[in-house]
Symmetry: C2
């Protein structure tokens, strides 16, 4: 039961952080949202920052684990990248509110928790860089700067949280297909 | 002289919004930063939101004007796009603090000013979409979804504010060249 209440608190925090921003959200706001006294809320969390760090870590770990699984599978680099684009866009669009908190609000963390998040996102960038380097090595991709290419692709994919409409008709797989076509073959005729 | 003081206020606000976030910055903080009494500050600005809206509008207008100039020039779509990538990345990296406020904090504006910013950024997206459509029409670019392509390119370019180091060795033109190569020809061999 305790963990269900914790999940309820996390969900309320995500909603508040997304709507009002992390700084403008108070622990009292979160307590009110889940119908607890502020004192009781502290049985579940040690504070607002702890909450944001926890949900950011959990989300990024999901990205990293899924990317590691894709990387270790037996497929061409091109197929892995298609899968990675689908995975990333599915996670970003599945819960836009969480993505927004992750991508917009996690910079509000203090120095030490910020560092924890940075290490996790750096790992994710490394995994994408490795995939691109693998494709170059295998002769599937043109030689280039895999890290910069990874930054460009992740930038394009992350930015989706800013314009994606959850009630829109464009599914994440449709975006993944269009982006794969763009990144594989470019726009030039 | 009054306009110099206004510029000083804008600059102080950009620094504070970037460091502490818009919500956590008070009018008192801004007054302190420029050595004015809060009452005197109100001779220059009508409030914090007015300040953020003003600087966002000015920045986006710069992007729009430069993009309109590029679009109306007599060049191939490919050359226009190279120029547009350079322009966008130069503006983003020239003042990363301002870019951060623009891209991260302007979502903190209330509904009406938010709408003003949205109209200006929608215009910018339209200009990019028009450039891509022009290239398809001219047979330079492959048929596709110019709006989605514009969103991908702008996402990749905007995201640079998150990782660009002002003291780094990578100049904005180097990023523009790498991105142009990626978007024109793709990664596939």
């Amino acid at each position: 039961m305790a963990s269900n209440k914790y999940e309820e608190i996390v969900q309320a925090a995500v909603e508040l952080f997304e709507k009002k921003g992390y700084h403008a959200t108070s622990v009292q706001d979160i307590a009110d949202a889940v119908g607890l006294q502020k004192g009781s809320l502290y049985h579940y969390i040690s504070g607002k920052e702890d909450l944001l760090l926890g949900l950011a870590q959990r989300a990024i770990t999901e990205f990293n684990q899924r990317m590691e699984r894709i990387l270790s599978s037996e497929r061409s680099a091109q197929d892995k990248m298609k899968e990675a684009l689908s995975m990333h866009l599915e996670l970003i669009t599945h819960d836009v509110q969480l993505s927004t908190v992750l991508l917009r609000e996690s910079v509000a963390l203090g120095e030490r928790p910020q560092q924890v998040v940075k290490e996790a996102t750096d790992l994710y960038l490394d995994l994408w860089t490795r995939l691109l380097a693998e494709g170059i090595e295998a002769g599937e991709f043109r030689p280039g700067n895999p890290r910069m290419t990874a930054l460009a692709i992740l930038g394009a994919c992350n930015w989706v949280f800013r314009w994606y409409q959850e009630d829109g008709t464009l599914r994440s797989q449709a975006i993944a297909d269009i982006y794969a076509d763009l990144f594989f073959d470019g726009i030039k005729k």
